[in-house]
Assembly symmetry: C2
Homo-oligomer: 100 residues x 2
Amino acid sequence: MADDLFKALADPTRRTILDELSEKSGQTLFEICSRLSMKHRLGISRQGVSQHLAVLEAAGLVQTRREGRYKFHDLNTAPLRRIAERWLVPDSSGPEENTS
Amino acid sequence: MADDLFKALADPTRRTILDELSEKSGQTLFEICSRLSMKHRLGISRQGVSQHLAVLEAAGLVQTRREGRYKFHDLNTAPLRRIAERWLVPDSSGPEENTS
DNA sequence: TTGATAGGCAAGCTTGTAGTTGCCTATGCT
DNA sequence: AGCATAGGCAACTACAAGCTTGCCTATCAA
């Protein structure tokens, strides 16, 4: 559950993909591929990117919609909000808060 | 930089350690060990926990202070705030350079 | 129908990393 | 001094994860 989310974020290439989708949503696999190689000089195969997208989708960070032969990818930031709340929120049951 | 942070959070045992330090700060290595095995039924060696703490410290999530033969561990949530902001905020300055 | 484009599946290689075991240092108590 | 406690270091094992290659399916245009 949370495991998928944190593992998805652990890879720098996946974080770059999130950056790209954050900048322009609704990109196809090939569009993401070319941007990674052009803008970020990332030498990675199409299948590599596809696998990263699968991981991001399993984590709920990316949602997809199919239209004809195109598959569009959209960023979903909802899961990210839960991350911060786990430790940042001064929990009622926990004794101390450490803001240092 | 950010790489250390995300990789530190990728492991479920390390996240549990953060939970423990969030509940009670200033714990020693042995204290964390016994809590992991008691409360969380985590069968892990002392050295295993020690290595996890080193990763968390490298990520800036845990700070340590030494007193005599004791080494106390404190949670530092500051790095967590930057995570959410990376994608949650539709940033005005435009997109990246890559911070990973 | 043929060819080109967009994407998927699965096996295999390789590196990274969690975990262990064994031994070593430092502090404190009696 | 002697012993127990708290922690550190290094080598080794085992499994997970990133990435590639090769082949397959689906959609659309000429």
